[in-house]
């Protein structure tokens, strides 16, 4: 598992530097944008997609087949991608919250609600996408990715029109807490489903 994660981090550093730079820019934008919610949500959304992006590189290089010849179980291969998602997403949320709390004029009151919102946004899309990608491959999974992206973009647009960082603070922490718990359960269910799918898959 450690080896699989190290391989993914090497690939992440090589292929996804632009993504990481984008995230850094968006984090910086939180300081200057004031109340704009988009800059806080986008890094979380992007980090959720990175394991899928790396999976498509695995397919192109033939690693998908080669890893099946290594002493790793299919469950470990799947878990590597989910674990990577957890690490990246958690890091992105922590940084986003830190930037939100540290921005000029921040009250800090919106941070707990923001944490719930970012958690939901960050973990929802990989929960849906990863089982599709493990079942059909990254190329076919991309169609599902586009549909999800359109749905999230639409929701975000609506959310941004209706709310701002300040407005997020007014959201019920209980509702956001339950929503975050629901998305966590969805991510866990997706993890188990992907393992079952990949164990049956012919490579």
């Amino acid at each position: 598992m450690k080896g699989l994660l190290l391989k993914d981090f090497y690939q992440l550093w090589k292929y996804c530097r632009m993504f990481l730079l984008c995230i850094a820019v968006f984090l910086a934008m939180i300081f200057v944008s004031g109340e704009n919610l988009f800059f806080s949500l986008y890094p979380a959304l992007l980090c959720g997609i990175l394991p899928v992006t790396l999976f498509s590189y695995d397919e192109r290089s033939g690693w998908k087949q080669f890893s099946a010849a290594l002493p790793c179980s299919r469950a470990q291969i799947v878990s590597g991608k989910y674990l990577l998602g957890v690490i990246l997403e958690t890091a992105s949320i922590v940084l986003c919250l830190a930037a939100t709390a540290a921005r000029p004029g921040a009250s800090g009151g919106e941070v707990p609600a923001m944490a719930g919102l970012l958690w939901c946004v960050g973990f929802f899309s990989p929960s849906i996408l990863l089982p599709v990608v493990f079942a059909l491959g990254a190329e076919k999974g991309r169609v599902v990715y586009l549909v999800i992206l359109a749905l999230i973009a639409g929701s975000m647009a609506a959310l941004m029109r209706a709310s701002s960082l300040g407005a997020v603070a007014s959201l019920s922490p209980a509702i956001l807490g339950w929503a975050a718990l629901g998305v966590t359960a969805l991510y866990a269910a997706s993890w188990l489903l992907s393992i079952r799918i990949y164990q049956k898959k012919e490579l």
């Binding site: 391989k7 090589k14 192109r60 033939g62 087949q65 290594l70 002493p71 790793c72 012919e202 490579l203």
Partner: protein, 279 residues
């Protein structure tokens, strides 16, 4: 002890069926799996590694029943046709990753193979030549004390010098009596040099699986007139070819009358004749 036993293994796809396969590889031997492109060589190796699920049949690898699980794969060195190492990673980085994947990884062994095979250690894998990619794959396959190597077309697309290096490494590997190799290729000359056993695959069917030396003793080429050839018993002739200059046939030496001028046959000639006969 046999490191590999395959009994009645069948894999059906729409439009192609592999098998039934019956193969046995004794410990300490090299088996060459010979076949044209699409004969089923890669499918066989994928079935052994559990990448594909068999339609029917059984297999035992290193004494464990079924396709190779993670425990068995710890003792396998595998090189696939595409190698499959991440393109962005250097050979040195690959070593660090493998050290965290294989329990018995030997970094010094890996580095000595990288030096011996003259593989650029700091170049990304995607920028290496086909030969260096294959050599990197072989270095990885040999650096965790494997007992069995499974090599799928490991010499294809390589220049003769590199192919010679690879065959030397495989010969070195099998000097230890508990080391064995299953090597698939359509370049029969490479297999002829190093294999103890040869299996011919054609359109998914196993034409033959036998010890190479016995095969070369058993069969020969008879060049004679068409009339002389017709006089032979049908079971003596494996395949015949008639031209305006005469006839040529692969024959079973023991079924040919004494005194007939039977010359030695190469594995490549035998394979070509058997495939033509099977068509």
């Amino acid at each position: 002890m046999n490191v590999l036993e395959i009994n009645g293994l069948v894999k059906s796809f729409s439009g192609f069926t592999l098998g039934p396969l019956e193969l046995t590889l004794p410990q300490g031997c090299i088996m060459g799996l010979v076949g044209e492109n699409g004969a089923g060589k890669s499918t066989t190796i994928k079935l052994l590694l559990g990448m594909l699920h068999p339609t029917q049949g059984e297999m035992t690898i290193l004494g464990r029943p079924g396709a190779a699980g993670p425990e068995t794969r710890e003792e396998l060195g595998v090189v696939l046709d595409e190698v499959g190492l991440p393109r962005c990673m250097t050979v040195a980085q690959t070593g660090k990753v493998m050290a965290r994947i294989f329990r018995r990884w030997e970094q010094e062994t890996f580095e000595s193979y990288v030096r011996r095979l003259d593989i650029p250690a700091d170049k990304p894998f995607g920028e290496l030549s086909r030969g260096n990619k294959m050599k990197a794959g072989i270095a990885v396959a040999l650096s965790h004390r494997p007992r069995l190597l499974l090599l799928d077309e490991a010499t294809s697309g390589l220049d003769p010098v590199v192919r010679d290096e690879v065959t030397d490494i495989l010969s070195d590997f099998t000097r230890q009596e508990d080391h064995s190799v299953l090597l698939s290729s359509h370049i029969v000359s490479d297999l002829e040099k190093i294999c103890d056993y040869v299996a011919f695959l054609h359109k998914g069917k196993l034409l033959l699986c036998q010890e190479k030396d016995r095969l070369l003793e058993e069969y020969g080429i008879l060049r004679c007139t068409p009339q002389e050839l017709s006089a032979l018993a049908p079971e003596a002739v494996l395949h015949r070819k008639e031209t305006s200059w005469g006839a040529e046939a692969i024959v079973r030496r023991e079924a040919v009358p004494a005194g007939a001028a039977v010359s030695p046959v190469s594995i490549e000639e035998l394979f070509i004749h058997m495939v033509k006969e099977a068509r």
